[in-house]
């Protein structure tokens, strides 16, 4: 029980004192790590350490995600005396002996991974270190289920500082000065939001953490909650102090069971230690946090819809103003901040706004976490200073395009964002530059597409998502997007005309101007951005009735040419058995039966199949 800040600091000093276990072996145990087989790796390492009687000098730590999804299971070994560390990827249980035998050097035969990030709090960047980790500072470094691990890394020091040295106004001023903007996508200044709510006279105010990460292909909030849950709890208490709220809710997707479990553990630990609940750290400030679960509705990421969902209603948005900061949950002033926004707060309070502003750009200070996925070699989570060029992210950190194909586009902002072409790769990314290009920051999903992707089809995909997730309340979104989708279908099936394209654009712009909430207003972005950046693809669908990427099945067919040697490989792999022919003779595809899956095209070793 920490009933004052000195006890907390004392405990942190004890925990940081040199231990008899100078070597830390950290195993990434996030959802993706576990899915890739981290559990048997952990067991094998444990067994090996025990067999070699190294338990007294080696500490095995189960951590959250390091962000190296492409080479899970991943582990990091750190010598806390020398400060040296090494990261291994694609670790198998059988690698445990050689790893434990070579704790101070590189184990031969195991993949090593370069650390492409630095910790701005502790060190200066090296040459190859394009990443700066503030939000992910503890992910993959601490055991998220142990409060001591968090305390040892300056945990709850910011809350202590706020409660003992700062007025509520001073906290808001610090956040305002830092220039922190909402990381959920909109980019509204966080300090401003807090200020609005703080200025409201009300007996009750609420604070909500938006952990309804619905953007398909974005999983940074999950990584923070699974890897460093206390940092979010601490920041929520600070925000509560600043605006005068005593009750906080975390609205989290039901699809994230591990994050829910770790949050529950963390809340209980913090309450038992006097870091949440009544009289936090012996002060007269009370703050309680409760979990609320989503139930599979993307629109609930929109703050008014989210508030209705917590109230137990259908998650439909309402018109703003009034903004939630004035009238939100149960009609009371309410702040809704995203997980990643909260994860920045404690560092800003401890190290100051000036320190924070040293990273990133003038209008978008700090870092942003991106989830890199799609046709890219190194799928995973990265955290870069705002202003980093897309090219650095995709070709340096991401390792370039999968199978060395040609880059075509990168979608930022998920279904609300836009697809940026190769000519825009040198854009330094921040909120304003992405908006200027017709895309948006969004929550930080970044999906890379290559020459095999049809951009018309991609626009159709995102629209189908929006259709599915539209709550149906306002007409532009409900009916307008349905019409947009139908037009895109026409185009993909070869029934589109020049006129379809004109109508498509007019309607898209109308929806953008007239829809009720953020979901509807941004839903035409994928259409508008592909229309302007990939106009030639639309033209070839409409004029030549051709899909150059070979995706729109109505516009392509597969035929076997005279290069065929009759190896039968295609016939054996065809899922609908529509390829006939004798061994060593040219085969034929039955066009009526062909489902145009392209398996034959991809399996043929003799370039004997043409896609026309």
């Amino acid at each position: 029980m920490f009933d004052n800040i000195d006890k907390l600091s004392q405990r942190a000093r004890e925990l940081r004192a040199p231990t008899k276990q100078p070597i830390k072996v950290m195993v990434s145990m996030g959802t993706c790590g576990i899915a890739a087989g981290a559990t048997p790796v952990l067991a094998a390492l444990q067994k090996e350490i025990a067999e070699r009687n190294l338990e007294s000098s080696v500490k095995l730590v189960e951590t959250g995600c390091m962000g190296l999804c492409y080479c899970e299971p991943s582990i990091e070994i750190e010598n806390t005396q020398t400060g040296k560390s090494i990261i291994y990827g694609n670790v198998k249980p059988g690698d445990a002996p050689v790893i434990v035998k070579n704790l101070d050097g590189a184990a031969v035969g195991v993949d090593t991974v370069n650390r492409t990030w630095y910790y701005p709090e502790l060190e200066e960047p090296g040459e190859q270190q394009l990443q700066a980790r503030i939000v992910l500072r503890n992910s993959g470094r601490v055991n998220p289920e142990r409060l001591d691990d968090y305390v040892a890394n300056n945990g709850y020091q910011a809350l202590g500082k706020v409660l003992t040295e700062m007025s509520a106004r001073a906290v808001i001023d610090e956040i305002l000065a830092s220039g922190l903007r909402g990381r959920g996508g909109g980019g509204f200044p966080t300090g401003k939001k807090w200020e609005f709510a703080a200025n409201q006279e009300s007996d009750v105010k609420y604070l909500i953490c938006n952990a309804d990460e619905g953007d398909p292909g974005a999983f940074m909030d999950r990584a923070v909650l699974e890897g460093d849950p206390h940092s979010v709890l601490e920041a929520m208490a600070i925000a509560g102090y600043a605006i005068g709220a005593h009750e906080g809710y975390i609205y989290i997707r039901a699809e994230y069971p591990l994050a829910i479990k770790r949050l529950r553990i963390a809340i209980e630990q913090a309450e038992n230690a006097g870091l949440l609940g009544k009289n936090i750290l012996g002060s007269d400030f009370d703050f309680h946090i409760e979990l609320k679960y989503g139930a599979g509705a993307f629109v609930c990421g929109e703050e008014t819809a989210l508030i209705h969902s917590i109230e137990g209603k259908r998650g439909e948005p309402t018109f703003k103003p009034p903004y939630p900061a004035i009238s939100g949950l149960w009609g009371k002033p309410t702040i809704v901040n995203n997980v990643e926004t909260f994860a920045n707060i404690t560092a800003i309070i401890r190290l100051g706004a000036a320190w924070f502003r040293r990273i990133g750009t003038e209008k978008s200070p700090g870092t942003k976490v991106f989830a890199l996925a799609g046709k890219i070699k190194r799928v995973g989570l990265i955290e870069v200073p705002m202003g980093t060029a897309l090219r650095d992210i995709i070709f340096n950190l991401g390792g370039g395009i999968y199978n060395d194909k040609e880059f075509k586009a990168v979608q930022t902002g998920g279904p609300s964002g836009g697809a940026l072409p190769a000519s825009q790769l040198d854009t330094p990314i921040d909120y304003d530059s992405l908006k200027a290009l017709g895309s948006m920051m969004g929550s930080g999903g970044m999906i890379v597409m290559d020459e095999d992707d049809c951009m018309v089809n991609i626009a159709k995909f995102f629209l189908e998502f929006t259709l599915d997730e539209s709550c149906g309340k306002c007409t532009p979104c409900r009916i307008g997007n349905t019409r947009l989708f139908e037009m895109l279908e026409q185009i993909c099936e070869g029934n589109g005309t020049e006129e379809t394209l004109t109508k498509l654009k007019t309607l898209a712009l109308t929806i953008k101007d007239t829809a009720l909430c953020g979901l509807g207003q941004t839903s035409p972005n994928p259409v508008l951005s592909t229309l302007s950046n990939f106009a030639d693809e639309y033209q070839s669908h409409v004029k030549d009735k051709r899909c150059l990427a070979g995706v729109c099945t109505k516009l392509i067919s597969y035929v076997i040419n005279d290069q065929c040697v009759g190896c039968t490989l295609c016939a054996r792999n065809c899922p609908v058995q529509c390829i006939a022919g004798e061994r060593k003779e040219q085969h034929v595809i039955d066009q009526d039966k062909c489902i145009k899956c392209g398996v034959c095209y991809n399996t043929c070793k003799f370039h004997a199949i043409d896609r026309i």
Binding site: A35, Y70, P216, A254, A295, G296, G312, D453, F461, F462
Partner: protein
Amino acid sequence: MSCHCDEQKPQELNLIEEFPDKRKKLEEYIQSLDIGNNREKNRGLLIQSLHKAQDIFGYLPLCVQLFVADKLKLHLSEVYGVISFYSYFTDKPVGKYKIHVCTGTACFVKGAGAVLDEFKRYLNLEVGETSADRKFSLNSLRCVGACSLAPVVMVNDKVYGKVTAKMVPDIINECA
């Protein structure tokens, strides 16, 4: 309030009456919540109660909806409105093997569409349907966050990564 399941769908079991132990479990959960006379506050407990009810019964037929409405002192229309809005809740029975094909963006660009089509063809089911023998139900879902394994298929809690159309029969056979 009494349950009218029998009147509406004669073939459907009244789960609340058929399974007293499950009913008890749900009742105990709802009673553990802080239910007062403030309707608005009670409503805030609805979604978590429905999560629990679906955990226990597998789905949320009318009799379960009525039971929850009764316990939380809410109208059935409010309960049904929530169930029909959120995709996580279902009022239809689901199969023993719940097949979910991820159609998030990362899986989509890596070919989830072809995988889903093959499941539809192989099982002769549309998305959202359950086979007549209640063995399989087929659904799509948006992003499980395992984007490095794309395309991903989940069967109950088991994750299959880098799935191709060709692997579909094997995945189904593994369920037997």
